[in-house]
Symmetry: C2
């Protein structure tokens, strides 16, 4: 089994779920090292993930929040108008790295210190590494905290940021008991500065120290997740335009993130890497309505955050399987390769990034159980318009859902209620068609059952 | 008029209220530079001022708050058991630097961006400078913010910290609209880190860069003033011992400050300056009960601080002219000079520091209107026990008070009520003797009236 990138004749890039990949990489570095071809450039890949950014929380979605750098990248690239993720943090992150529905690992919501997703399951990073990429994470991990569940065991060459699901922007501690979670290369460190700046600064370090190999850089921002404590320079521009103090903080957090994205773009330009770099941006889930700031979190020092995200006009909030919880702002940008000014209407799911990015990096993946997303690379390049035959699947602790074509079915665990929506006709999910379309309900219920077979 | 320090024959060190001092220092540097005598060492002076530290908020006052470094300094020095300040921030600071009751400048409470105390009124710093001292402030100023009311115009050679009355510990901004106030040498700067650490670090820089001249270093801490956002390492030790979350934060803030004091002492030891340095410690006013965290402050991001200081067993809170508002933890320490293990019971007032420290620095002051404190230096050295004939005077927006001997009279402006306490018999001010002692009331009322003559 030889791992290298395709040139004219694509070699199979086989992903296995055991530890043998790492073994191979260690014992056979010459074999595992890909060769490069001038005619098929391997882009650097920067995947920027915002935390809790809602549909209407980005400038180009007609928001009061100003995101000029993101807007520019989206405008100069392709907007992903139906980009789906999971309704909470960890499942989206597990899906991104594994290319599998996170319920396969029993991940139905935010993770604690451990996970059943193992290091070898992070097929995105392992796969890119085998294609010659250096792999880096700056920011939020949220796939475990015990030593065996930290990024370096999941295919990252370097890691930096925080391991748990949220932190105080300045003390960098997790909510319960101000738990230590900030780290460099999986080892806890103390640092000074606002989390958004630190994550941006590390991303720039990665870009500026890039060698000859292409890199994969996962920039997983804290912003605009609570608790919010934004430097005043980001709040001030909203003082005249946003009355609600918490919405103002939230907007400030996003514009702060946006500025970091601008700095990343400038670093790419400065180092001559701009045209060699594919940028993907997404939120990890829909916006959250508010946060009650219980005294058990952050030692009670924050006031209740009474207004946070905005998913308008979509229905629902973070945690929901309605569109507002899982359909989020996203785009892809690669000058000269990804069409500019395009809006991609093909429904796309976070599990698609594994096959899509492996393909972008010049690799190839076998179809089948081990890959649950579909490769949309040629579609994103504008070279193909064939809609993939696929179903999207979500499972949370409260509900399961499936989307196939324009239909979406949600089954709520506690009530047993089933809801059916036709997303093309009713993107705001105002009309539950379950009673009127029993045949479609039966069909999608059976599909949902089939999708669930491999869940833990 | 020659300004230099006394040796055997003390020369008069005349303080005037016009700008001529500065002129003199510029035009006649050789004349103004003091000469040094080996037999009368000029100590470095470090004046550490805590913000809102209550009577029972320091370890050696049988507190649950741990202050090992302060306790050690107090134990190895002389505790000032009846040390009086003003019941709010600015008046104490004005009194310290001017040696005058702050109502002389119309300062009755916290200052805004300006003050009527002029640069030349800061006779402590100007005086020490003329005795050959380098003068430095690290921390809170709160005597004005407009360029003409910043520390460099008040006799400081270097300045660092914040100009307004309080700040967010991490963003270093003032409460209203997150106003910029952090500066170096009176120019606004952006910096990274917790305010307590930054103030300590600057103090250590001053110590480590001290030249041959003695220095006066005013370390005006933010701690334990709200808003509180303490690094977890300072909170953790109190998790088992203090149930109330805000009292825990408050204790953490104090222990954080205490650690900074420990670092300052180590810097003195490292540089061989420990035995050449007089350390004074005080709070600026009594403890505050709580803070409601209105949305108009810090953009509403802090939760209400429901429990803060503790002035037990004294009566009253910050803002009051009862003992809890104005009698605060304080001590003085100078190895080999100030008696160790001594408790100084002579009532001492913040205006006394000007004549006392000028004397400690080898200077001399004329008595009279321009100096309202008394020189307690030889008493502090244990060389004299003559009780000074003096009255202490307070004026706030709500009340005026005078203490003479063991008697204290408070007159409340709004109600017109007068209260009289005998502090020796009734230090907790439980028994108002005004009705029973009309003669004493008349006597102290007349004294109060006389004290007020020079108020603005």
């Amino acid at each position: 089994m030889v791992f290298h990138r395709h040139r004219h004749h694509r070699r199979r890039f086989v992903l296995v779920r055991t530890g043998t990949l790492a073994l191979f990489a260690c014992l056979l570095p010459c074999v595992a090292t890909p060769t490069f071809a001038d005619d098929a450039p391997q882009p650097n890949i920067i995947f920027i993930l915002a935390d809790d950014l809602g549909w209407a929380d980005i400038g180009y979605h007609d928001s009061e929040v100003r995101t000029p750098h993101l807007d520019r990248l989206a405008h100069d690239g392709t907007r992903l108008n139906q980009h789906y993720v999971y309704p909470t943090c960890s499942p989206t992150r597990v899906a991104l790295l594994s290319g599998r529905f996170p319920s396969r690992f029993g991940v139905l919501g935010p993770l604690g210190s451990t996970t059943k997703m193992l290091g070898e399951d992070a097929r995105l990073t392992h796969g890119l590494r085998q294609l010659g990429y250096r792999t880096h994470i700056s920011g939020k991990w949220h796939i475990g905290e015990t030593p065996e569940h930290r990024p370096l065991g999941y295919g990252f060459d370097t890691s930096y940021g925080y391991l748990r699901g949220q932190i105080d922007p300045y003390t960098h501690r997790y909510k319960f008991g101000d738990h230590v979670t900030w780290h460099r290369d999986d080892q806890f460190v103390e640092e000074c500065g606002h989390v958004t700046d630190l994550i941006t600064d590390e991303a720039i370090r990665v870009i500026e120290s890039a060698g000859q190999e292409p890199f994969f850089l996962y920039v997983a921002h804290h912003s605009p997740h609570y608790p919010l404590n934004e430097p005043p320079k980001w709040i001030a521009p909203y003082e005249q335009t946003i009355d609600d103090v918490w919405r103002r903080h939230f907007a400030a957090a996003i514009t702060h993130l946006d500025d970091g994205v601008g700095q990343i773009v400038r670093a790419l330009e400065r180092t001559g890497l701009r045209d060699k770099t594919l940028i993907v941006f997404s939120s990890d889930n829909g916006g959250q309505q508010n946060w009650s700031a219980p005294e058990t979190e952050y030692n009670g020092r924050y006031a209740a955050h009474t207004t946070l995200g905005n998913n308008q006009p979509l229905r629902g909030w973070k945690g929901d399987l309605y569109e507002g919880g899982i359909r989020v702002p996203a785009f892809v940008n690669w000058p000269g390769h990804i069409p500019a000014g395009h809006v991609f209407e093909t429904p796309m799911h976070v599990v698609d990034w594994l096959p899509t990015l492996i393909r972008a990096a010049g690799g190839d993946l076998p179809p089948g159980e081990s890959v649950e997303g579909v490769d949309l690379w040629t579609m994103l390049l504008g070279q193909s318009s064939t809609l993939p035959d696929r179903a999207m699947y979500w499972k949370t602790r409260a509900a399961t859902a499936v989307r196939q074509g324009d239909w979406k079915l949600i089954q709520f665990h506690r009530s047993g209620r089933t809801e059916l929506f036709h997303l093309k006709d009713d993107p705001l999910e105002e009309t539950d068609l379950a009673d009127r379309q029993p045949g479609k309900v039966a069909e999608l219920s059976a599909l949902l059952k089939a999708m669930a077979v491999h869940d833990q």
